[in-house]
């Protein structure tokens, strides 16, 4: 049968090892569009497609209370991430999940598919980048892990090798504020024109800012992060207007947007500045310090 539907991780890994060139099908929300529009050829050999959405190990998540890390299997769907209990653990990822396509898309699309497609507009990716996610890969040769920044190589290009599967992604469960913001032409069913995520980690005095749709992959903003971290009043969660403005300016300067059919580079850069300012204000609601 040219479509292999493994029902265990061991079978999925073996299938990928036996057919390293097979197409990996998760939720289908990206791959099937390419196939429907004939942008993607399907080989006719055995095991041309490996369907991953019935592998229990991939479709489940676990929380380790000792190191407070959440492991999301690659096959966990946006519809699950958008709701409790995951929403309470990774609120910004839940906010991003709620903006992915429509309910139909969120019932099918997976976090691993978002990573594997690696679109600059992938809604989950700025949040995973801001959280400092670790991506875990598996193949017949064993396992390897890398920071998400190393996994995302370019526009729709990743470090995934032939025969390799994304097994999971791990993120810390933090006590601070986190949020996701996205601009598009309408509220539902829209691909991001620009997006941003801010995550704070008060015990570690750390702010992370990541931008989507304004570069070949997700961009972190080290200058803006350092500026906010240094200028914020962490004890009262307060921040002054000048710091907020400067954070927006630094983030916009970090962005590397292009003109395309969805928007102009100028608008995208402007939108990043506005969104980062808003997110920073929400992250530090304590008023002027």
């Amino acid at each position: 049968m040219p479509v292999v539907v493994p029902t265990s991780l061991a079978d999925a890994v073996a299938a990928a090892g036996a057919a390293p060139d097979a197409l990996l099908l998760a939720g289908g929300t990206d791959l099937m569009v390419e196939i429907n529009e004939r942008h993607r050829d399907l080989p006719w050999n055995d095991a041309a497609v490996i369907s991953l959405n019935r592998v229990p190990e991939l479709c489940s998540w676990t929380f380790d209370p000792d190191d407070r890390r959440l492991r999301l299997g690659a096959g966990v769907r946006w519809a699950e991430i958008e709701r409790d209990p995951l929403r309470a653990m990774v609120p910004a990822l839940a906010e991003a999940a709620r903006t992915v396509g429509s309910p139909q898309i969120r019932n099918a699309g997976t976090v691993g598919g978002n990573l594997a497609t690696c679109s600059p507009a992938g809604d989950g990716l700025p949040v995973l980048a801001a959280l400092g996610a670790e991506v875990h890969l598996v193949s017949v040769d064993g396992r390897r892990s890398m920071p998400i920044g190393d996994f995302m190589v370019g526009v729709k290009r990743t470090a995934l090798q032939p025969g390799e599967l994304i097994e999971s992604v791990t993120v810390p469960v933090l006590d601070g504020w986190q949020g996701y913001s996205k601009v598009g032409v309408r509220n539902a069913m829209v691909i991001a024109t620009a997006s941003a995520c801010v995550v704070t980690d008060p015990p570690n005095r750390s702010v992370r800012i990541a931008l989507g749709s304004v570069g070949p992959t997700i961009l972190r903003c080290p200058e803006a992060e350092a500026h906010v971290t240094a200028a914020a009043d962490w004890d009262s969660a307060a921040i002054d207007d000048a710091t907020v403005t400067e954070a927006g300016r630094l983030a916009a300067a970090t962005s590397r947007p292009i003109d395309d059919h969805r928007s102009s580079a100028d608008y995208r850069r402007h939108a990043i500045g506005v969104m980062v300012q808003r997110l920073i204000r929400r992250a530090f609601p304590g008023g002027a310090s």
Binding site: M1, P2, V3, V5, L25, G27, G28, T29, M32, V33, I35, N36, E37, L42, W44, A48, V49, S51, N53, A79, G101, S102, P103, Q104, I105, N107, A108, N187, A188, M189
Partner: protein, 158 residues
């Protein structure tokens, strides 16, 4: 391709023969199994007119690889039976059907919504049906139809 696979649609097994591997579930339902309720418009998951349930989840049939949907229960509007359901009747009564192209997808989506959330708020209805595009009604009468069913079902259980 000489492969044969079986799909479980509306409680019945259907054999699919000599299909191209890349065929989506919408194409197989309509062109191979003769089940014409689910409609094809965008074929990229944007319009929702092909909405069906696969393994209990509301999905766009155009984004499901049919050959990968073996062993999963699939439900389309045809599976609701020959007598109109309360949802179908409410769509008729409120004028939520105009050209009718989006209606089968909306009927499946509405049943799915009310099965999980018997008393949805208007915001919940709008959000849960946001993947089903209607170009005729402006959605007002569709929302009215959903609310009407919710009220009638609540009254019936008292």
């Amino acid at each position: 391709m000489s492969e044969i696979y079986t799909l479980h649609v509306n409680g019945r097994d259907h054999e699919v023969r000599d299909a191209w591997l890349g065929e989506n579930l919408l194409y197989v339902l309509r062109e191979r199994l003769g089940l014409m309720a689910a409609k094809g418009a965008c074929e990229q998951g944007e319009c929702g007119s092909c909405s069906v349930e696969v393994a209990g989840e509301l999905v766009c049939a155009c984004l499901v690889m049919a050959a990968a949907a073996i062993d999963e229960p699939i439900r389309t509007v045809e599976g609701l039976g020959d007598v109109p359901t309360d949802v179908q009747q409410a769509f008729v009564d409120t004028g939520a059907v105009q050209c009718g192209f989006c209606t089968p997808g909306l009927i499946v989506a509405t049943h799915h919504l009310l099965d999980r959330e018997p008393e949805p708020t208007e915001l919940q209805i709008r959000e849960e049906l946001s993947g089903n595009v209607c170009r005729c009604t402006g959605y007002g009468r569709i929302i009215e139809a959903v609310q009407q069913v919710a009220v009638a079902r609540r009254a019936a259980t008292r």
